[in-house]
């Protein structure tokens, strides 16, 4: 435990200095990704629906990854277990969704 702690101290010190810009960049990314998604839907008349849905989902997943990595500090050291358990949750969630899409109506 202790060694893990001191290892993260270093990255943290740097963290302090670059801190704010990094988060603002993440924020701008989020806004842009959301904008793309909204715009894609606004253009729905012209393009094929499946294509748009794929765009929407890609934007959502990208945005979530960025937010998790930066805002929730997932990319920092010592977050292996949180990552494992979040992925576990995501896996089960995805299972449910596959169920809902393929095996509820026939």
């Amino acid at each position: 435990m202790a060694s893990q702690q001191s290892a993260s101290n270093h990255s943290n010190r740097r963290h302090k200095h670059e801190g704010r810009q990094k988060h603002i960049v993440a924020f701008i990314f989020s806004i842009v990704l959301s904008l793309i998604a909204f715009a894609a839907v606004a253009s729905v008349a012209e393009v094929n629906a499946t294509f748009i849905i794929i765009i929407l989902l890609v934007m959502a997943v990208l945005q979530v990854i960025i937010q998790m990595a930066y805002w929730m500090h997932m990319k920092d050291k010592g977050h292996l277990l949180p990552l494992v358990f979040m992925l576990g949750g995501a896996f089960v969630a995805l299972t449910c969704i596959v169920m809902a899409l393929y095996w509820v109506w026939w």
């Binding site: 576990g88 089960v92 299972t95 449910c96 169920m99 809902a100 509820v104």
Partner: protein
């Protein structure tokens, strides 16, 4: 009073055992009634409606309120000791988890007193569980009671995960953890991922029933199959939540009484993880006849069969743990040894069920009933009896009578085989499950009678166990630290029962089977990892108890929110959800208090430790 406010994991373990035992008894009495009703064709001991209530409450009570709390009892009592911890990570949540479980369970069983009992099976399939076909409040007790008790289980799961991750003694690496601790770890992870799913399912059903939602209402686009999916996405992992701890117990007991290291430890760990993982991908094997189509049925058949492989690895590892060992037949070990062939029989019928085309014949027959009682009673319950005999001295300072324990084993075991072996054949020759009675001349009569006789023997076995507890409790508390003398893990290095702080000094772990290793190296005790110092302890608190009472009241209030009342005051209180608001107010008020007033805890000073040292 002490018991209401305790946050000590060992005492909470005992509370879990008491409550779980009580519910197991209730579930068992329901089982006996089911069996007596079925003793002969066209029996009318209970009405058809009452029969459905009995099976529903039997299944629900046994699974959620009977065996899971007993598992939690052992995990609470033993896991912190096995990893050399002073306490669990969240003593407060631990207590909260227990009380919410208990009040959820009480709410569910209150249904017997109110007279509106859940009657749609423990699986509560809609539309049968809708208000149209089950108009009384029975199913509301089910949805709300299980939500509350499920909350407790979820809290318990998180608590064990954090405890095992963060609280291990120095040197206790993951790959040195005893198998029971590993099992507790994986089981807790399964709880974490499975219980939210059933919580959502229960909420949907509750919304449909209490607030006229349409999730399962076909007329407005709802879909009953959705419920089945959600239930089983939880339900299948749930059965591994039940069995993995038993696997852990068996591993520890067998290696202790064979005086041999667990064979293939790392493959055991791997198999446990794999079973947990695969457990989430097989739920639809309960739904082969629902009509999901051949592709889904094929996929889920194969996925299900795969689980036989890691489970087989475990079985053979146990046998080879015994191989070359020096096997002592204590009562605990008898149960563990009885577990192996019996569980395998249940497991292989599971694999038979997994073959979808054959499942069309097996499904919803007594063959399934036989399957799951073989794995649950012949597996889990034997495992729990084994664990209880094994750790009883650690938990209570007294050893259960060996002779009586062995006699109990034989009574229960033979009764078990009589009850459930014949049920395989009943199912195959055409007896559906969940039937309140059956016509004569179908070839069912003799086997049903044998089955009932067996069930009564199991009941006698359970009574013998209770008797054993009773007479043992009148003996002096004189169990040694390591009463079996062959103990391998850390819990056997401290007094029985352990002092409130468990370890005077946190031990230094130098290998797998930490205590055995020290013994083999000729040491009389563990090397401490820290100097003797004052120990910080959390204070007892009544808040968890009241938070749970609050939930109980709130749940009760919601249930009757739309009922007409003769009494104007009652009507006012319930119909405006004032009762619920009061209940939630109590719960949130307590949460608020907890958040605002930090618990300073107290310290046990060195002098105190020294004179407590000798005493148990």
């Amino acid at each position: 009073m002490d018991w209401l406010t305790t946050v000590d994991h060992k005492k909470i373990g005992i509370l879990y055992l008491l409550a779980g035992g009580l519910f197991f008894g209730i579930g068992g009495i329901e089982a006996i009634l089911i069996r007596i009703q079925l003793i002969k064709p066209l029996n009318d001991l209970v009405s058809e409606q009452a029969f459905n209530e009995l099976i529903t409450m039997h299944g629900t009570t046994m699974i959620f309120l009977g065996v899971m709390p007993i598992i939690f009892a052992l995990m609470n009592a033993i896991v912190p000791l096995q990893i050399g911890a002073r306490d669990v990570a969240f003593p407060f949540l631990n207590s909260l988890g227990f009380w919410t479980f208990l009040f959820g369970g009480l709410l569910l069983n209150l249904s017997w007193i109110v007279g509106d009992v859940p009657d749609a099976g423990w699986t509560s399939y809609v539309p049968l569980a809708d208000t149209t076909y089950s108009p009384h409040h029975g199913v509301d007790f089910y949805t709300i009671g299980l939500q509350i008790s499920g909350l407790g289980t979820l809290l318990g799961g998180i608590n064990f995960l954090v405890t095992i991750i963060n609280m291990r003694a120095p040197g206790m690496t993951y790959m040195r953890m005893p198998m029971f601790t590993w099992a507790a770890f994986i089981t807790s992870a399964l709880i974490l991922f499975a219980f939210p799913a059933i919580t959502v399912g229960l909420i949907l059903l509750m919304f449909d029933r209490l607030f006229s939602g349409n999730f399962f209402n076909v007329a407005l686009g709802g879909n009953p199959v959705l419920w089945q999916h959600i239930f089983w996405i939880f339900g299948h992992p749930e059965v591994y939540i039940l069995i993995l701890p038993a696997f852990g117990i068996i591993s520890d007991v067998l290696s202790t009484f064979a005086r041999k290291r667990l064979f293939g430890y790392s493959s055991m760990v791997f198999a446990t993880i794999l079973i947990g993982f695969l457990g989430f991908m097989v739920w639809a094997h309960h739904m082969f006849t629902v009509g999901l189509g051949p592709v889904a049925n094929a996929l889920f058949s194969i996925a299900t069969m795969l689980i036989a492989v890691p489970t087989g690895i475990k079985i053979f590892n146990w046998i080879f743990t015994l191989w070359g060992g020096s096997i002592k037949f204590t009562a605990a070990n008898l149960y563990a040894i009885g577990f192996i062939p019996t569980f395998v029989m249940g497991g292989v019928t599971g694999v038979m069920l997994a073959s979808a085309p054959a499942n069309f014949q097996f499904h919803d027959t007594y063959f399934v009933v036989a399957h799951f009682h073989y794995v649950i009673v012949g597996g889990l319950v034997l495992g729990l009896f084994s664990g209880l005999h094994f750790w009883w001295p650690k938990m209570f300072g007294r050893t259960l009578y060996e002779g009586l324990g062995k006699a109990t084993f034989w009574m229960f075991f033979i009764g078990f085989q009589l009850t459930f072996f014949v049920q395989h054949f009943l199912g195959l020759i055409g007896m559906p499950r969940r039937v309140a009675t059956y016509l004569p001349n179908q070839g069912f009569d003799t086997m049903n009678m044998i089955s009932t006789v067996g069930a009564i023997m199991m009941g006698i076995g359970t009574l013998m166990f209770l008797w054993n507890i009773f007479i043992t409790s009148r003996q002096p508390k004189n169990a040694a630290n390591d009463p079996w003398e062959d103990g391998r893990t850390l819990e056997w290095t401290i007094p029985s029962p352990p002092p409130e702080y468990n370890f005077k000094q946190t031990p230094l772990v130098r290998g797998y089977d930490a205590w055995w290793k020290e013994k083999m190296d000729g040491n009389k005790e563990m090397t401490p990892a820290e100097p003797l110092g004052s120990i910080h302890m959390p204070s007892p608190t009544i808040l968890p108890f009241f938070m749970s009472v609050g939930l109980f009241i709130a749940g009760f209030g919601f249930m009757y929110g739309r009922d007409p009342f003769d009494n104007a005051i009652l009507g006012f209180l319930f119909n405006n959800y004032i009762v619920s608001i009061i209940g939630l107010g109590i719960t949130f008020g307590c949460m608020f208090l907890r958040s605002v007033y930090d618990d300073p805890g107290y310290h046990i000073e060195v002098e105190e430790l020294e004179d407590k040292g000798g005493r148990a």
